[in-house]
Point group: C2
Chain length 422, copies 2
């Protein structure tokens, strides 16, 4: 490590320490103090949007020179409307109920000791994300509302945009009760800096990775700080022998094509062989009409036109495109076994008119969200009415499915006595 790098890596720890200290002050602010601060930041982002756009242009130019693909450039790109959307998002978070201070339960022991279980902030959130600069404002807003400090480590391709956003946030926070140190932005692109966050247990209470599968894997495998795992969705639609054809096809097409690049989009159709044989023409026509490329097993290839042979990687892949894997099964058990083997425990749907089959599927399939006769696209904090979300948890501990403000909290037991001993 060169001296310059050593200085930089020390800086990350200093930043985390400052966040920890700020978190303590933040944890005791009132709801109105936090809301007022969020509205102040929102106004400042609107007033200062031009500086963000200027910085974003530099990132876009760098990205073009590096030949990033179009979808990536789209995620990176900002304009006035998008920045005003960040601001509006912060104002919406200000409107959400404040989870902090909620007394979750309360009782008194026989000896008179009073016990209260109270909701408190986690402390310091480490957010590791990729190109989308909107995460900078969104994550900061959710963290601050729930009384947490945040250490932001965004992708290097959005460095200038993120810096411009954080600069505005910092300046705005100076006029509020929230200490500006509660939002730390790591502006080095040195990889050691990110790795330092993985093991900074003393200063960081939770890491939330948001981005592609390889980012999430790197964090899960290397972090000793607890992780809230988000996002990878290899979601299945199982069309049962008792499925209504119109519902099945509508839901499949919606789940596959509405927004193919999001995690709650469907990637694999599991279809009962009897249903497939009966409805293959209708299915083939719909798939063709919507430009879907099919990767299927032998039975699928026999029933449908233009099927590419599916390999192991097709079953495991989150395509995030108009590709669809098609697996044919003889019964519900085979469908569930396939999901057990390849699913990512995100969102799984069954289409059937048979209530018993649906019940079994929902009981025996292990995922955050199970659907009967509806599209997997509803696994989303906004769609389900959570107000806002910091990500979709695919793990089972702490939070599962869309994570709203309560996922950024923990509890304390407060015991008040007058000398009780055991």
């Amino acid at each position: 490590m060169t001296t310059a790098e050593a200085v930089k890596t020390n800086t990350v720890e200093e930043q985390a320490k400052r966040a920890k200290k700020a978190a303590k002050n933040l944890s005791i602010l009132t709801t109105e103090e936090k809301n007022e601060a969020l509205r102040t930041v929102a106004d400042a982002l609107e007033t200062g949007y031009e500086s963000i756009i200027s910085a974003n242009l530099i990132d876009l130019k760098n990205g073009e020179e590096k030949g990033f693909e179009q979808a990536f450039m789209d995620r990176l790109s900002l304009n006035k409307e998008r920045i005003f959307d960040f601001a509006e998002g912060l104002r919406q978070v200000a409107e959400l109920p404040d989870p902090i201070g909620d007394v979750m339960s309360r009782w008194t022991l026989d000896n008179g000791l009073k016990v209260e279980e109270v909701r408190v902030p986690l402390g310091v959130i480490g957010m590791i994300y990729e190109a989308r600069p909107n995460v900078t404002a969104d994550a900061a807003g959710l963290a601050l509302k729930s009384g947490n400090a945040i250490v932001l480590k965004g992708g290097s391709s959005a460095l200038n945009s993120n810096k411009a956003i954080v600069e505005i946030i910092h300046k705005a926070l100076e006029e509020t009760r929230i200490p500006k140190n509660a939002v730390q932005f790591i502006d080095t692109v040195n990889r050691e800096a990110t790795k330092q966050l993985f093991t900074m247990k003393e200063h960081i209470d939770v890491l939330i990775p948001r981005g592609g599968a390889s980012l999430i894997k790197a964090v899960v495998e290397n972090a000793t700080v607890p992780v809230l795992e988000t996002g990878v969705g290899n979601c299945h639609i199982y069309v049962d022998s008792d499925a209504d054809a119109e519902k099945a096809i509508n839901i499949l097409i919606n789940a596959k094509t509405d927004r193919p690049a999001v995690c709650n989009a469907a990637e694999t159709l599991i279809v009962h062989e009897a249903w497939l044989n009966q409805h293959k023409e209708l299915l083939a026509e719909s798939l063709k009409k919507h430009g879907i490329t099919v990767h299927g097993d032998e039975s699928a290839a026999a029933a449908l036109p233009d099927v590419k042979p599916a390999t192991e990687s097709d079953w495991a892949n989150e395509y995030l495109s108009l590709d669809l894997a098609v697996k044919t099964v003889k019964d519900l058990e085979e469908a569930i076994d396939h999901i057990d083997q390849y699913g990512t425990k995100h969102s799984e749907a069954i289409i059937t008119e048979n209530a018993d089959t649906a019940k079994k599927f929902m009981q025996l399939t292990d995922a955050a969200a199970l659907y009967h006769n509806a599209s997997t696209r509803f696994t989303d904090g906004g769609a389900l009415g959570f107000g806002a979300e910091i990500g979709i948890s695919t793990q089972k501990l702490h939070a599962r499915g869309p994570m709203g403000l309560p996922a950024l909290t923990t509890r304390k037991y407060l015991m008040s006595g007058n000398g009780q001993i055991r």
Copy 2:
């Protein structure tokens, strides 16, 4: 790796797979089916207690030959009464409310999609523990009641005792609706076997280490499977300038001496210098009377007799003995800073007659359990009325403080529709 080892390490994965499969069948049993099974196991442990004692004698003989210390041998040692206590423990778990299937919330979207948030088992619990054979029966009981399969990896010093207990559990389960594969016991003492559990994300949903600090550290640092961190308690009693002397001393002595070897025992007295000066004779007398060895800072040494100079390691140490570190402070802030630096976020107490000071302490100190004018010894599932506990979480994610049955569960969102798409 030799062939024999290869076979053994393969076996661990096979065992975890069998547990995963059993978990699926277990998750849909009724409460009565699970309770009936627990009572059957309890009866079998009582009927078969002699075989456990015989096996335990072998472990004790091996332990003596290896020269294990007395406290360790005590934890290892079983007798008829202790085994009947295991059985009674299982019957008590059968009496507890079943968390599985609880509808935690329920709502309907504007489009008619019905949403239910339902409590479900985690799946497979990996329990890694040290010498206490009671954990084998206790952990299996809590896991099964909450619909989870369990993979048990106990300390090698209790191998024979644990095997005898599991043999009885397995034989008893054959007469019940719980598949015997739901309880897996890893009977190899090969270290690779334990390490395999650390990364078996496909088959194991959570690891719970129970034992000393080094075991817990090894699991936290090496596991990619999510961990429920338990137990290390470097707990402080802060005696404020406004503390009532009698309450302060009673609570301190209770927290230090009632059971010095448990995690909710006090390890450090933080004392306001004004209080110390006023009450030093009374404090010195009590400490002496209870055989407490004091490791203190300079001010403590000036005020109290026979004080050994405290070093950095005294502040960080979980003594688990009649040793006590004594830190003198000028104010509340210094006390909280000390706890922030050295505490393990387990249990912290303030003794004061000043309600404002107490409130500040409870707001600003980061721990699972905060006490005002009471002993830290109440941080315990039994004492707080949780019915039973699988451990005391010192982490913030998922569960904090004493963990009862709900800590062994997660949730599913179940969505029922009639063709809803986005």
